[in-house]
Amino acid sequence: MQRGKAGGGMAQQHDAEWFARLLPSNEQLDELLGDDPTAALLGVARDRAPVEMGVERPPDLERDPELQRLFELASTAARKLQATTTAALSPDEVQALHALVHLVARPALRVRDGDVPAIPASWQRLEGARSVITVRLRGIGRLDTPERASMGTGWFIAPDLLATNNHVVAALCGISAHHNPRWREDLDQAAPVHDRRWKAQPSSRPVWDPGDAPAPSDAGVGRVTGIRMTHPQHDLAFLDVEGVQDSGRLVLPLASAPSGEPIAVNYYLGGYPVVTAHQTAGLHPALVDLLFGGTDQIVHKRVSPGGLIGLVSADAQHDASTLGGSSGSPVIDLTTHRVVGIHYSGVYGQRNHAVALWTVNDDAVFRDFGIRFT
């Protein structure tokens, strides 16, 4: 299902279930929306907008009749779903509920100055752990080509060693996983070639950049010097990186298991989703500005909280808001702040997928590189 195309019966049914699962509980929703839901949502939007929109404050949101209408519709649709999770939703209601999801249920919160400044009240647990999250974010960076085109996300799994996806490595080697059905085989052939090239030619090396957004300065960035491993079964790869001072302090610890029943635990991802016009098609333009600062293709670091919705073998299905560019993001347990998975794909409005690392913790690759799960 794509956003803005909710017309058919099946799609409607699917939308209703999807929203019903994502929206806060009745009690939480009552607390959040209070006696004036529209004003409450505008308040959340107003808090978020400056973070998303940089130096500008949003235009007078309260006087934007379209936003007013959207938020009124969102609150009535949410109440409708509170009554029955199979309620029929109009396309406009679906649209409005997407706004609600992005505002309060599954936000993708922009990181600024290494911090996450505009956490909605619905994610109070995120606020309470803000100081830990900011530490974790330091070890997460964008993986760029030498020309600084963003290809995905990578994070320190050990000193001078980054974890990411195979398909992100493929992209760094010029192989598109989206358009080339043989990309995995091609990567096996290309990896040794690029490994040698990156070692021999510093100018050809991809870049690891932990910045909040692209910046002209190279301060703090690392250079990928080689491909240490591409996993044969899972979409998981390790890259050698140099130039990051004291990278041991940036390592994200791995969890031997989630802190509770995997489905009941909250998680968050740190990564660099790319917001494109295609991905936000159908959303009200003012809302796209509010939520993402527009579809300007500038890649910003974001934190996306969510939960697991299924676990099939090593495939963890989650519902955090991710987009292209999130690939390689660590999935972090919100209680222990240890990594439980690595995100690799998703379909908006349905589910996202991550490798459940704790389920493969006896894999030789971890042992070989001295990586421990605690």
Partner: protein, 1079 residues
Amino acid sequence: MTDHAIVIGIDDYANADWRLQAAVRDAVAFAKWVTAPDAGRATPGTLTLLLSPAPGRDVDLPFVRATRAAIADTLSDYTLDAKGDGADRLWVFYAGHAVHQAGGGLDAYPVLVPEDVIDLRRYLWDQPLELSKYVPALQLQPPVQQLFFIDACRGIADSDDAVTATTVLHFDIAKSDDVGGRVHARQAAFHATTAGRLANEVGLHGLFSRALLQGLGGLGPTLRDEGGDWVLTFGELARFVAGRVAAAQEDLRTQGRPAPTQVPEPSMFGFAEGATLLRFTPAQVPRARLHLLVEPGDAQELAGASLRVLNSLTGEPEQQQRQGPPLAKGAQWRLLCRQHRVVVDADGFEPWAKLVDLVADTTELATLDPQRVRSGAGAGGLEAAGTRAGDTADADTADADTADAATAEHERGRISARSADPLTLIELFDSTGSRLARGYGSLDHEVRRERPYRLRVTPPGHDPIQRQAYVTSGTEEIDVDGRVMLSPPLVTALTAAHISTIGGRSDASEVFDGWAAASMGAVLAWGAWAARFPDNDHGQRLRSLGVDPIAGATTDRAYVQVLVGDAERRDWLGQIDVAFGPPGAERPRGLRPVLGLPGLAGQWTGAVPDGGAAVVVAGPDLHRTGLPVPAVQGYVAVVIVAAEPGGQIEIHRYLHPVDPTGHGHPGFTDLVRHQELSWRGLEQQQSFLPGEAERLLADEPLDPLSLAIIGYRLVREGRADLLTRAGSPSVIERMLALAPGLPDAHVVAALAQAADTAMLRAAEAGTPLVADGYSALFEAATQRAAATGLPPPTPDRPLIQGSAWTLLDAGHDVATARPPAIAADAISASPWDEQVRAALAATGRISSPGAGGTATGPGAPAPGTTPDVPAPGAAIMATGSAVLVTPDVLATTEQVVGAGQRQAPSGGAPLPPGWAADFGGGRRAALRRVLHHTTASPGVGADTAPRLALVALDAPTGVQGVEFDWTRPRVGARIAVIGHSYRDPRIPVTALEDAFGNVPRGEKFVVPGEIVQVQPGTVRYEAFTTAGMAGGPVVELDSGLVIGIHFGGEFTDGVKYGFAVPMAFLQHELRPLIERLRG
């Protein structure tokens, strides 16, 4: 018995520009809190809820509309009809707009603005709801405890009169007689912000109300264990709320949306700071979970964690809980919501410590560093360093954000700040608003790296300047001297008197060291001080300014000297009325010129009759104001009223000996500035630095007013014993001997010695000059009136109480709401810098062949921006402004030359016929082609900035191109934006009229302002820019150089901000190109 409550919240104002979002929400939250079942406070029956919610907004409590009549009736029920009879407490909460009265202290009560006010000026003139009238009246009414929480001044719409058209108390204190009697109410008030400042609304709540409701709920403030219950005091609530508001503002600053400075101000009348405000049973007191994680994994097996509960006042640990080792899964505690200190130690690792403000479930991460080997005496290792596992007592003595013993070496840094002026006060604050250090002239303090700190710098004679400090490594050296602008006429006058002005400062000193940041008020104060010395003594050049030396003055009489100054020579001087005489019988007095300050200052001198007198001043921007003048034999009471650059009006007061040499004074010292510092220290409630008070008191001789000010400050600090015991004679004795006619001397004596007789003498001496003394005397008089059954002191005419430095305009935060724009033709006749006028001439209006259409394409504003281009569809041809870089090439923003077209022309593309630039005076040229579009990508946070365009004209204009400054602009720099201004739909017409004198119709304006934020691709300033100014130059006023090209703005809370692309950002791309164009 039960409590009563009056709760008022106003969002929906009849004047649409004043509407608020969160005042009703806050009021409803307070109403629900105060009537919470089983809480033992008010009930729905004893609650009066006055609300003005937005139309269509549902409120689930019964309420009455908050009209003027309803609020007045409600308050009168309590002040006139004793409605609170039988109640324990009265709770009053107000959220909405209000106006602070001029001349009040920091904690002055404001004038409430009810929902039905449309014209603020008329309202203030007619029957304003002055809390300063109701609150004192309530002192004689039940119930015995009354608490006021005022979350007001939320971005009130501007009005020149709003801050001056109010009255404050005046009373004839000597008429109170003592005859026995009844108990008066104890009151405590908590204001969201100090007088003259704005309070902020963020998201769903006011900053103040959010913190207040957290505090009242026990979420955060330190509670005192009292017999099993937990007690919240008013003082602790105030400390907590102030800290939370400061932290919230710091958060806003880091988010790139700085809010006007807001400092909550508590005020007490008979209500002790340590008095119980609320009591929580163990079941009621809120708790939260603190989860502590420890890394690296190697440390977890060895680590133990200590939790120290600190007393927030003393910083001393009160309780300790310990967990581990090991701490493989971290440590968890369920704790009272308050401040805790967590310390983690593990063998082989450096200790780790942090202060945690627990208000909700919180997770903290302790990342331990391997221990380094210590040299020398440290060879004993951990034990020698006092950091044995489980023994971290040393760490408890350090401040939270100060780098203490538990801080790893690599986390430590220093902030070293200094000023050229040794009397500049420098203060360092952490992110919670706690002051870590302060000093005069310089400050050096150890801090933690990569944490935000704030420096507040107060040059003598000027308002504080805030700036951020951040240490990434080693020591951060900070030169805190911002340039202080002197007005050009004042510079000219000082130069003529051979008083040098250097770098925007004036070194008016002739014998004493150091720099002086000069304002008009300070220059007059120096002039008056120098006039007290003989011709052959020091201070001759200052005497040449011409302040009256009062020939024939004798030491057995008292004198008054009134000096009125106008730094910008705005014809203000001629419109000021000065009267003098016994209170109530003042007669007009004509001002004589101060010859050395022609057109800038006037003066009047006279003798003060026994029993004291009053000076009354009135004029434009200065409401009729009375200033008490004491009759102190042998002294000249100097009253200075100065209009400073920017329109701020200050009143200074000094007490100079008629003959300083006869008083054994060591000579023409820097006494004036020391007095000024004392006043400001008192006004800002600063405590003395260690040893500072002793040193000042040891300085001989100090004038009696300075001694009194020091006395008030010591009383406030609880150190009054220094006044009565130190020295022989004591300070009190010296002060009373010097000036028995100074009421403040008696009030200080009464406060220091708890002597009623001294207070009675003070009442006989007249009205104190200092706010603290005024309040103390007022309280004493009220108590005596209450005891005797007489009516309490009543206001009968305006009088400025207290502080010497009293802002009489709206203050810096709403400065741009005052007339900020200057028409170009007015500039040409003013002595502005040559380069500013050159930039003015080089700025023109761009017009397109079609009426202004909607900007589209790459040149269109990024989503959410509000470019300063005329509104689409406007019946004008103009699209914006531009500035010449050479006589035939101009620079502007892409959106200006892109307006009205489907797509902005690319580099090299010809423009269609009809595009033109008009520079005035018949200098007009057609736009030929776009030479270049900038390509540099905006940096972090600047992704909405547009590109710039260089456009060739078809013929030279005869006007030279401007000069650019390619260096990074500086926060705090004074700038001016030049451009053609039009009516702007984002800005209320009333605000436009105030700013420009009328709705602008395309005239060229110079709009002064100040840079508030600098980012790689954007510079942000407070300046009243409008549609049509995009593309115009931003000129740094100190250098006269163009530092950026203006492109957009926003109007928020009555303050207008503008944005520019800084030239520094485009230096590599544009500078070579422009130099090539210039040949």
